[in-house]
Amino acid sequence: MDYSNLRRQAASMKKGLFDQGLLDEQFRQVEDLQDEASPNFVEEVVAVFFKDSCRLISNLEQALEKYPRDFNRWDAYMQQLKGSCSSIGASRMKNECMLFRDNCGKGNVEGCMGCLQKLKREHAILRQKLESYFQLLRQAGPAGAATRPVM
């Protein structure tokens, strides 16, 4: 297996995530925290992010139904999610969180509902792309490993 080719593919995939605006500079900050002591740090943080964001989105959906027009409550949930998105560099998701909060500020229920649907789409897209990226990284092996001969 050509590991250097796999690493190139992974690098290209990552570049695509930045070019499409799915990730921002904060993701690089998280990557910089990965080292020999924590070799899977980025993947672990991303896994926690998706677990927590699924829960937050679910809580928000329930709140939209159970507490109609409770914009303060809706905003509080979204603030939490926005914070997590900022922490890992999930840029497009963060933008949808901000738009949702704007709509809360304007008392615009339809606007909030629309933003939530977009947010869920962005969440799904980012999750799928990052899962593919990490799968490729795992196949490629550690960056410092010697290139193995093509089979």
Binding site: E44, F49, G83, S84, S87
Partner: protein, 128 residues
């Protein structure tokens, strides 16, 4: 040589806690985590001492600013307390509560490093 910087990280969001922990470990800090403001206050009530507190805003049971106010009211005026939040609108609330500085999230490692170095310098000066 000064002892490691003792840090209290007050943060309920797991992602944020993981990232901040990893940053603090880069600076070889001794770290204790509190999941909300009340846990932070309880640690001080138990007599725990810290050089540095990183405190989030919105948390269950007790918010960051509420905790900071109580910590300062205990006479803990020496400990450096940094308020952190992705919501810039809470800067004033934190400052009124008694933080030394408010930093918006996400925190950059070089900014954190500079703050920790300040604390180390202060500890070293105190030794002489």
């Amino acid at each position: 040589m000064a002892s490691p910087v003792k840090v209290l990280l007050v943060e309920d969001t797991r992602v944020d806690a993981l990232v901040l922990l990893a940053m603090l470990r880069r600076f070889h800090c001794e770290i204790i985590i509190a999941n909300n403001g009340k846990e932070a206050v309880d640690l001080f009530l138990e007599g725990k001492k810290f050089d540095f507190v990183l405190c989030d805003n919105e948390m269950p049971i007790m918010t960051g600013p509420e905790a900071v106010e109580k910590i300062r009211a205990m006479g803990e005026t020496d400990v450096k307390i940094i308020g952190i939040s992705s919501n810039n609108n809470v800067r004033e609330v934190f400052m009124t509560a008694g933080v030394d500085v408010f930093i918006p999230k996400p925190l950059k490692i070089d900014v954190l490093g500079a703050m920790i170095q300040e604390v180390i310098n202060k500890k070293n000066n105190a030794m002489f």
